[in-house]
Assembly symmetry: C2
């Protein structure tokens, strides 16, 4: 097991409905040393890529994105969420359905902050159905930029987001891929990488 898989086994809590709570170290309280290790890991996994910008989505991706950006020496841009954003000439907008919260959010990025020359690494804490990553990819495409890859802390391998992105040819690197988890026993199985 790698450092993140070990931490998930130690402190993650499996809840009914395919919920994995990691809010003691990743998305409410944040272990900064762990984020630093994740940033270093993404730098290794994307070491052959030329990256000019890291794109994430508020709120829980921001910490990881910043700690990763240190290793690449590039700025972070975080997409903002709104249920009411109005289309205008200043923003790229994409729709992101949340299965957890049963709502569709619009996410947007100011046109000033992604340009056709940008080679973008997308970073987020979770991937389940892939909606957030697909929304961010859509935004990069609207800007005419390139998506170099997608770096995820925890992928739920039993949901289809990872498959969709890999089928479309994106370089998706997830530090931990959960294959199955059992709310009765708390047991979590990871995909061998």
């Amino acid at each position: 097991m790698n450092f993140l898989e070990e931490r998930i086994c130690k402190d993650g809590i499996v809840k009914p409905g395919n919920v994995l709570k990691v809010d003691s170290f990743l998305n409410h309280q944040i272990d900064i040393d762990l984020l630093d290790m994740m940033g270093k890991e993404f730098k290794e996994r994307f070491s052959n890529e030329k990256i000019t910008k890291i794109l994430t989505i508020e709120a829980s991706g921001i910490g990881m994105a910043c700690m990763t950006a240190r290793y690449f020496g590039v700025p972070v841009v975080f997409a903002k969420k709104s249920q009411t954003v109005v289309q205008d000439d200043d923003k790229y907008i994409a729709d992101v359905a949340s299965y957890t919260h049963k709502v569709t959010n619009h996410v947007f990025v100011s046109k000033k902050y992604i340009c056709p020359e940008d080679k973008v690494l997308i970073i987020d804490d979770f991937m389940a159905h892939g909606q957030a990553a697909l929304g961010l990819i859509d935004i990069v495409k609207q800007a005419g930029g390139s998506v170099v890859g997608v770096g995820i802390a925890i992928e739920k391998g039993f949901q289809q987001g990872g498959q969709i992105l890999r089928d479309r040819g994106y370089k998706l690197e997830s530090i931990a891929i959960v294959e199955s988890m059992d709310p009765e026993t708390g047991k979590i199985e990871f995909r061998k990488q």
Copy 2:
């Protein structure tokens, strides 16, 4: 001028209604080197304090809080915002009025992540009327913890948040305090520190 004041003069945009847009480097696109300098600056300004946790509020405080936490070697906790959170036994909740968005958000922190032993440094990107900081202070007090200080990137010195906190005896350190700004000329004046 210090490094942040210089950056505000270079890239900040003054808009009517006392709005200072810094989204090219602080709260939409993020300059990681700048955040790192801010983290180091907070470490110097709070070097005599024993700190066990950094508390911020989603979303734009998270990057700064993480980069600051590296210098202190402590975890970050970020308060979540919701307009609909229900009072329960698991959360500390405070109200935060937003003058910008004309709404009152509830902010909450899981009771697991702040305890009576905690010595908390509150970090945020902006202070205007002080509502966010006061809400976070309220949460730390509900938990029985101590507020060691408040670290802010940009304080609007012509609004009353900073005065309120200093009058109540909190150690408030703002890297840049804007005394006045003029949307006509773009001129920004800072308080001498």
